[in-house]
């Protein structure tokens, strides 16, 4: 029976690995699409693909709350607002500026990025390999994350929420009609 269990565990891990590769590939593809598509709607939709696959990666790391928050906040709310704006402005391809000297910029960018990329590659290669396993004990659950957030990180949490509130008020003031009510 134990042998069977071990085999089953190995199968699960293999399945999780395939899922990881699939989701990672999708998220990279989405990111590439975001910068290569010319039409803003295509770019936004490929970014949605990236965000959803990132949510899948969080789920693989048994961070359930983060998975849900990623879907609700980023993929659900923020991106739907961005797509809403793209629909609202109805930008077509002929509205976009011509990109002259694209090749030159690409070349320059590649030259700048290459050392950083090599550095990153070295870092990734030097990472020690280790097996992943499910941690358990409610890791990443709503309750656990909430407890940590409101016990150990209460002050930063409140400061961030005030920051967001300030940004919100600022946006309302900037967008509000001028001279109304005077």
């Amino acid at each position: 029976m134990t042998k069977k269990n071990i085999r089953k565990g190995a199968l699960d891990i293999m399945f999780a690995e395939w899922l990881f590769f699939g989701l990672a590939g999708l998220s990279v593809l989405g990111a590439i699409g975001l910068i290569l598509f010319r039409h803003p709607m295509n770019g936004a939709m490929s970014f949605v693909v990236t965000l959803i696959s990132l949510a899948g990666l969080y789920a693989l790391l048994s961070a359930k709350l983060l998975f849900a928050v990623q879907l609700i906040v980023y993929a659900g709310a923020i991106m739907s607002l961005i797509i809403f704006i793209i629909m609202f402005l109805n930008i077509q391809e002929h509205d976009l500026p011509d990109e002259e000297g694209k090749g030159l910029f690409l070349l320059g960018g590649a030259v700048v990025i290459t050392p950083i990329a090599l550095f990153l590659y070295k870092i990734v290669k030097s990472l020690p390999g280790s097996d992943t396993k499910i941690i358990g004990n409610g890791f990443g659950d709503v309750r656990e994350v909430g407890l940590i957030l409101f016990k150990n990180w209460l002050l930063p949490f409140e400061i961030v929420s005030i920051l967001l509130l300030v940004a919100l008020v600022g946006a309302v003031v900037l967008a509000g009609k001028k001279g109304v009510g005077k």
Binding site: M41, I72, A75, S80, L81, F84
Partner: protein, 428 residues
């Protein structure tokens, strides 16, 4: 995985997928007959197969066949045909998948193993519902935008602005509710509502959080784009709104998606505020402990209900003028035979259960079946409320709709959170 595991996985996925799909037909029927009822007319009652009209359900089959054989038009002027095809799929799929976390019965314990009775056995609960309904906006926006039609774009603008705005009061109403329940897991929420307040009132969400219930139900109506919030497709202004360019099965997907969304939000309302699958005053443990008397009671009640229903049907299902050999009476007689055959089957199963299987696993299975029936009945009643509101209230003006969302529901929801938290802190 044992065979039992596989069987139960199949069963749960089947219920999670087929129940919403079957409810499309039921709800379309309910909508038409309900509309007719409120307007004092008969509704669709002529379409038949060999004289059998199934109270008008055959009309749905006729509509389905019509939609399948219609020409599937993709407008030539649309520059984004991929999104045009994708949009109805997103709407339908999101509506269907959001049902996956709603528990339709209590956790089934068989051979020492627990089986969570929902389409996908995970404990994200209400967060999953919020996440998936958020995606439905994409379908609406993409449909309106890729149609390249001004009515389509206007409808999509209205629909998406409305859905995005009403998500906020909905989420805030949920916050106060979660403060009370202390969990996001829908099954635990239903368990919580099985308790009794002062020893005799079931602690349903609507009793503990009436304000949150009103806010949530209003927002849920707005989220499903139904009257009085159906500005998105206001026929008199926008023809059909975001799906004006769609035809055949693509239109049908939007149409069915709307009804699936209505079913799912009814089931969520039931789960959050009306005790979910719980039969009032009878918790799962009580039911399992008293499975034998309950099944005997059922044996008595089922024939009585069938007799009452048959009597009502025989009285009403006849032509209103003299017809030789009235086909409607003949139809009703056939239905009567079918109903009594079903009653005999139910009785036989119950007798078999009492004689051979009582005590043990069969008790639990019986209770699960009872709870599924309760859940479906409750959800059906909530769906009727949707139909009721749709054919009773007129449409809002669009600015009134946004004002209601932002200036009424949002402050009320915030106030509710403060009051609820204060009470919860004071009581603990």
């Amino acid at each position: 995985m044992s065979q039992l595991d596989i069987l139960l996985v199949l069963l749960r996925v089947a219920v999670g997928a087929f129940v919403p799909l079957c409810f499309i037909a039921v709800l379309v029927w309910l909508e038409r007959r309900g509309a007719a009822f409120f307007q004092d007319r008969a509704g669709p009652n002529r379409a038949n197969i060999f004289g059998f009209r199934a109270a008008g359900l055959v009309q749905n089959a006729a509509d389905g066949i019509k939609l399948i054989f219609k020409e599937d038009v993709i407008p030539g002027h649309s520059a984004h045909k991929f999104y045009f095809v994708l949009a109805p799929l997103i709407v339908f799929f999101c509506a269907l998948v959001s049902f996956a976390v709603v528990p339709f019965a209590d956790t089934l314990v068989l051979e020492g193993k627990q089986y969570i009775m929902q389409g996908i056995p995970m404990d994200l609960g209400i967060l999953w519902f919020l996440a998936i309904t958020g995606f439905a906006v994409y379908g609406i926006i993409l449909a309106g935008w890729s149609s390249h039609n001004k009515y389509g774009v206007l409808g999509a603008l209205r629909a998406s602005a409305q859905v995005i705005s009403y998500e906020i009061p909905m989420g805030l109403a949920l916050v106060s509710l979660l403060v009370v329940y202390g969990t996001i897991n829908l099954n635990e929420i239903v368990h919580f509502q099985g308790k009794l307040l002062f020893g005799f009132i079931p602690m349903w969400g609507v009793v503990l959080q009436p304000l949150a219930a009103v806010i949530f139900i209003v927002s849920a109506f707005a989220e499903t784009n139904r009257t009085p919030f159906d500005l998105a497709e206001g026929e008199s202004e926008l023809v059909a709104g975001f799906h004006v360019e769609y035809s055949a099965m693509k239109f049908a997907l939007f149409f069915m998606g709307e009804y699936v969304a209505m079913f799912v939000s009814s089931s969520i309302i039931i789960t959050l505020f009306f005790g979910g699958y719980q039969i009032p005053w009878l918790s799962t443990e009580t039911l399992v402990a008293y499975a034998k008397p309950v099944s005997m009671l059922l044996m008595g009640l089922v024939p009585v209900a069938a007799a009452l229903f048959c009597g009502w049907m025989m009285k009403n299902n006849k032509s209103h003028y003299d017809r030789p050999n009235d086909p409607r009476v003949r139809e009703a007689k056939v239905y009567r035979i079918i109903i009594w055959m079903m009653v005999v089957v139910v009785e036989a199963v119950l007798v078999g259960y009492l004689l051979y299987a009582a005590g043990g696993a069969a008790d639990r299975i019986l209770v699960v079946l009872l709870q599924i029936v309760t859940f479906l009945v409750k959800t059906f009643m909530m769906c009727f409320v949707y139909v009721w509101v749709r054919w009773t209230l007129p449409r809002f003006r669009y600015d009134q709709l946004q004002l209601l969302g932002w200036k009424m529901l949002l402050p009320l929801a915030l106030l509710n959170i403060f009051i609820t938290s204060a009470v919860v802190v004071a009581l603990s």
